[in-house]
Subunit: 193 residues, 2 copies
DNA sequence: AACTATACGGAAAGCTATTCCGGTTAAGCA
DNA sequence: TGCTTAACCGGAATAGCTTTCCGTATAGTT
């Protein structure tokens, strides 16, 4: 992440800085879960016990924080694909993975909205989704499509975005609502006569 | 939309006020189309040529403006249902109406997002959708479900919201994308073996 | 122990939304 | 017409956030 083109030795990151970064990530994870990714920055810095300047030093853009908090979970989601593919038939593997992806999104209050924000700061988050989850889903999808069980005119990217849209919380509805609607969409993927 | 020809005890609305209201609605319609319903208030008041105070006097809540701008179109959408029902079979009538609803949403930049905002100010907008469009869709849906062509475990409200979610613009994707995904969802509504 | 690149915290600046109010004007009436 | 008055207007003031800036503090190095 850092370069060393100058003759001077590249100093290591200070320990206090690392502590604050950890505290911020931890606090952000908690706050995001409770108040969504649009929560006021101060709420996060207060919880982490640092000043706002510290937050912006380490995470100049809000999307940087969001991405950092989610990276592990995104990775875990992507890595679940091969196992499912090996353990189940094409259609079932795909369905199970989409279920997992759906659950991941549905529990992240406001994540789905941020993903579709027109704020260029979140471009990085979208890119992250595409590069990490895209290939994982594409593999499952190709297999299922090749097996003739899933319509061929829908791409991995299409699905990734569409499910993210459907996972946005609707006031007055439980998360179960979103899960049900995603299930309907997935049913729409299957071939019919 | 205005003009109460029966002047009763209370004073009539002043002509300049009416002019400003019309100008604001016209400006809001334009701005909403170009910058979405979240556009800065000042953009609207500047276009309308009035002060911000004037906007807030007539439309205390942002949702009041949005609702006023859309009322005609919402009504028109709801009123299209009976004709479709009379002219086509249950499944086709439902599909055609959903297509119309989808197109309506897809062309309104940011409307769908506002609809799912957790801001209580938009509660009125949601209510408006439900009371105007809900019955129209419910009639079509009931008929199609009774005919056994559409799964019975999805309600009119479910669909109204789900399609609104899918109609949110995705950065980097054309509106045609949203239309395609809605089509997949609708396919998911049909009975399968 | 001294030195200095890093990092810290919070004040300041910049934006928007929303409220408030002194001045203005259209409507009603003689 | 001209007067009276309630309705209305514009924009200044207020409020809540985000983001930048900078003087001070300190970890890591020598």
């Amino acid at each position: 992440m850092q370069e060393n083109p100058s003759p001077a030795a590249p100093r290591r990151r200070r320990a206090d800085a690392q502590r604050n970064i950890d505290a911020l990530l931890e606090a952000a994870k908690t706050v995001f879960a409770g108040s969504g990714v649009d929560a006021p920055a101060k709420e996060i810095t207060d919880l982490a016990g640092v000043g706002v300047g510290t937050l912006y030093r380490h995470f100049p853009q809000r999307s940087d924080l969001v991405t950092a908090v989610l990276r592990r979970e995104i990775d875990a989601c992507a890595e679940a694909a091969p196992a499912l593919s090996a353990a189940h038939g094409p259609d079932e593997a795909l369905t199970k993975w989409l279920d997992r992806y759906t659950e991941f999104l549905a529990t992240k209050h406001g994540l789905a909205s941020a993903l579709h924000s027109d704020d260029p700061a979140f471009e990085a988050l979208r890119g992250s989704f595409l590069t990490q989850l895209g290939p994982a889903l594409a593999a499952l999808l190709d297999t299922a499509q090749a097996a003739g069980e899933i319509r061929p005119d829908v791409s991995a990217k299409d699905l990734l975005y569409a499910i993210a849209l459907l996972c946005q919380p609707v006031p007055g509805e439980e998360p179960a609502y979103n899960l049900r609607m995603v299930a309907v969409l997935i049913d729409g993927l299957r071939y019919r006569t």
